[in-house]
Symmetry: D2
Subunit: 344 residues, 4 copies
Amino acid sequence: MRASAHSNVNFNDVIKKQKSFVLKKTKAKVKAKAVKGNPEFVVKNKQIGELTKQLYTVGFTATDLAKAYNVIAEMRKANASIWLGFSSSIGSSGLRDYITYLVKHKKIDCIITTASCIEEDIAKCLHDFFIADWFMDDVKLRQKALNRIGNIIVPSTAYVKLERFFVGFLDSLMKSSNVWSASELIKQLGKFMSKLKNHEQSFVYWAYKNNVPVFCPSLTDGSLGDMIYFYKMSKAARKKLHIDIANDIVKLNELAFATKKLGVIAIGGGIAKHHLINAALFRGGADYAVYITTGSMFDGSVSGALPTEAISWGKIKAKAKQRTAFVCADATIALPLLMPAFFE
Amino acid sequence: MRASAHSNVNFNDVIKKQKSFVLKKTKAKVKAKAVKGNPEFVVKNKQIGELTKQLYTVGFTATDLAKAYNVIAEMRKANASIWLGFSSSIGSSGLRDYITYLVKHKKIDCIITTASCIEEDIAKCLHDFFIADWFMDDVKLRQKALNRIGNIIVPSTAYVKLERFFVGFLDSLMKSSNVWSASELIKQLGKFMSKLKNHEQSFVYWAYKNNVPVFCPSLTDGSLGDMIYFYKMSKAARKKLHIDIANDIVKLNELAFATKKLGVIAIGGGIAKHHLINAALFRGGADYAVYITTGSMFDGSVSGALPTEAISWGKIKAKAKQRTAFVCADATIALPLLMPAFFE
Amino acid sequence: MRASAHSNVNFNDVIKKQKSFVLKKTKAKVKAKAVKGNPEFVVKNKQIGELTKQLYTVGFTATDLAKAYNVIAEMRKANASIWLGFSSSIGSSGLRDYITYLVKHKKIDCIITTASCIEEDIAKCLHDFFIADWFMDDVKLRQKALNRIGNIIVPSTAYVKLERFFVGFLDSLMKSSNVWSASELIKQLGKFMSKLKNHEQSFVYWAYKNNVPVFCPSLTDGSLGDMIYFYKMSKAARKKLHIDIANDIVKLNELAFATKKLGVIAIGGGIAKHHLINAALFRGGADYAVYITTGSMFDGSVSGALPTEAISWGKIKAKAKQRTAFVCADATIALPLLMPAFFE
Amino acid sequence: MRASAHSNVNFNDVIKKQKSFVLKKTKAKVKAKAVKGNPEFVVKNKQIGELTKQLYTVGFTATDLAKAYNVIAEMRKANASIWLGFSSSIGSSGLRDYITYLVKHKKIDCIITTASCIEEDIAKCLHDFFIADWFMDDVKLRQKALNRIGNIIVPSTAYVKLERFFVGFLDSLMKSSNVWSASELIKQLGKFMSKLKNHEQSFVYWAYKNNVPVFCPSLTDGSLGDMIYFYKMSKAARKKLHIDIANDIVKLNELAFATKKLGVIAIGGGIAKHHLINAALFRGGADYAVYITTGSMFDGSVSGALPTEAISWGKIKAKAKQRTAFVCADATIALPLLMPAFFE
């Protein structure tokens, strides 16, 4: 490392300074609609599922979407375990409410996601996120402590509240053990969230309630990591907190092996998609697969990779080829249209 | 979970079966060129850096690439710490040799990457990867135990060799401790790799050698996770291996705070990009930033997000706005053209 | 030009050979669903329009889609002229039936499109197109005389029928004049199509019927061009056929100037989008604009350009900024969801 | 059409008003680098071609780029006719200078392009274009009469000068005939441009000089169309100008048939790409094909279509499959790296 900028800085001052960066209170009141989804609407109104099925004959991505619908319906019909992987932006958007709805109604058997999705699930119980614009003055937003995710605004105050909540949670955790696997921690978190007023909006809560394991192989990547950092730095006893990811890979691969039939649904790319299909390898590949992504295949990323690539790895079964679908679309449009397939 | 498929299966049979899925020996000889990069060439031939700078006046992405070149050159001139985040496909491609070259020549001060990049860095010391096609018969590839990553083929035998190597490594690790943070594990791995014939091709080795920390917040996501799983399942004593990610977030944020000036370079999206810029938040934002990605901004993903979005979060400094560059391109073309900027 | 391959070839043989390339009879019977759209369904079932409006709060592209819905509804409410530009693949897909529905119900006041959309509108009256796959053996498809457009198959026989029809049409045209502007030709074509059994499926027919001008500044680019070529080559008298595009630019700019309020909707990119917004410049810019595209902005193409770029040119009014929407999505999903906005 | 906004407007006032929209004088002086390319540099420095060839082993898009290099080199070696199609943004960027260089050095045998590329080729002889930013205040740009194309700025004054030049040109044309095919008009334009000071920078000039036909099936789509409109509206005699596209399709298909071997290179998508490969159909398909595009295949557009799709149509020969390359990249980076292949 090159020379330090802060060689004489007092330790407490460091944390204070860092908290001033990370945990800013929002100075502005946002006048905009809150981010939310209405899954009930798409499930209750049969015409929406009907539309998606009809899109089969329109061609191009519409056909792919209808295929995805059919593959999900087949998963359900075959009573397959349905494993869902989703990336961070899904949790930031109103799709979080769709995920909650699926988990609440026991349509999902296992979740693999990112730290951001966990943390924003809590944060949304504490504070609204808002619909805004893609192109804003980000310098001004920073001054007001408004964080932008695409065309969504998260007031930084949400994270201030999150930290308060999360310290209490970690304290409760450490009463029983210093070492936690990510999935066990998330399960306890779901339980702990019961005390939150809006906990029924949370997929983490419902996953706990309905005994759906939630895996997150990178729990420290995001605000949860920030909170764990501040927590560990605050008292000597808290330093002992460890988050183990080795036990989770055992648990995940065993769960995958135990599935009788397995359908995987990857919404977005990155680690959630990869971790999901990698687990499927441990039972000889998934029987059904749906990918929803905006990723390009031509950079070699797993994000843009088609289901056939996973066949070469044994992550999807060779004979499942006709039971896969690839939808090149933003999930905020695709998932609502696919939702009714889970309730056929 | 829905009913188990394997309720009466003997435990050893499970592992045996799983190894048959994961650790297949390749049956075919691949006749194709091996994946590799030639960073020396682009650095030694000054015309290539000259070309990139000239592209400034061509417009569109060429201009962005030239801007990225200038931002990197500025980082160097200001003697800033340069932190590099890169996603899985970078490691799969010949860009791995570029990363190695940068680390060997002490141009990078900190690395954040994915499990795949670590594992493929080892695997490439043990076996060639090959250039192939985007569209192949993936069912046949599976039969031959050839794994496809875009237009690159990884013979599965590479992973068989990798497992043998990695078991030895984990055994050596557990002699001193059962609990390892990911970054400490990777450092020890770099040291252990010295015994490999081709270790000088490895960026993990050079990172160890040159004392460059390598962070990987999701070390179990990928083949390394597979190996850790098999390792833990093989003997009772090995079950005690734990990989802690909580200490790494402490180490990372402290390192970030200690930087006098910080330049971040994100190649690809996903967790590596997010973890990189999130660390920068803990010192009040990066002073310089270069993003190279094929991601679309319109799905709200961090992968496609522009540097300005990070300004709203305080992850890039507001006043650094003119010292950022966004290159919408596949890194396999962009990085070779940017390489000389590190050696200006 | 480099040396000719056919220096001694007889003229008639040339045409015969070329017809063997262009007008192959399909040897295979395609067993697949025909391409079609069901616009009636989305218009009659109010829940679909309701869904699109609700997507506003979901974030990312869903929000953009809802904004587009609102902008179209505003156009309607303000009684603005609505001009629609759409690129070739729209006509190939089942969206052609949506376009027809809009024109039939007098929701569109002017159309700008490509030659392919015109020709496939006729072709679909003569022969089915079929839903297939993205990845097929294209060499085998050629042997069978099946042409692929993405995941849609057009049996080459459709073009054989098209040619027969089009020769008759051109003969009828040349009875009154040798020189035709593209828009006049298309108008006559709509009239001539009345004799086709399925003419009510055609947007060209309904445009004629409802007096909606259809502009196509590149009428010879595509199968229509092929047919015009064969026509001109067949008899000396037919050589005199000329298609003038200069008069159309006069007509188009005059029409644009005459609009009281103008809303432009560009589906897809390329020439249709550009010609549409360029016309708007001649009345000082559009008052409303909706773009639906998968194009990337970072190659500087008009296809991926945002509405704000058009403001710099005066093609969209500066004060219309809040009455524009940009939807980064495949139109085969987006247009069905937007359709009800035309009928609010 | 809905009611006219201008029913009582005097005809001359209409044109005056329209000219105030279209032909604004730029009020600001732009302080930025002029758009330009330096093809000489990449051709003279052998290391750049060497780099591109070496990229073959890097994987992903780098491999595709090297394949494209090889295919172009093969075209040259086989003495094939090389036909180049390129879309509007290519002409706006500094790649225009690369095109000029290729035409000047007789490396291209036929060009298919858009109206914008023709008009900007003239405009650049009259006025500089400038490098700017992707995200600017487009309302302010309009006030200053600066037109934005991605991150390039075209001062509107360029078009004022263009109009003056073009009126003179059209007058000269009409001395010999009232009806011109697009390709004949462009040829005369190249000749007429000789009088411009900077004419040696123009590909239209060099195409005339070296007898390379330039086809543009949509000559009125863009500023040339604007100029033709104003021209026709200015005097009764000028109304007689007609631009015929029917003769050009005859000429184009005949030229295609006459090629002994044909290599097609499509830079960008849209009409230029389609018209290029459609012509190849008339000689039984191209023998070599290189596509450079950022388009996505999943919207069914020709812009994003792979070469294999063209095989199904007979536009590329079945046996040419291994002599095709698809490069998913912005041409502003790709073309400079491919340039040396033309001079091998």
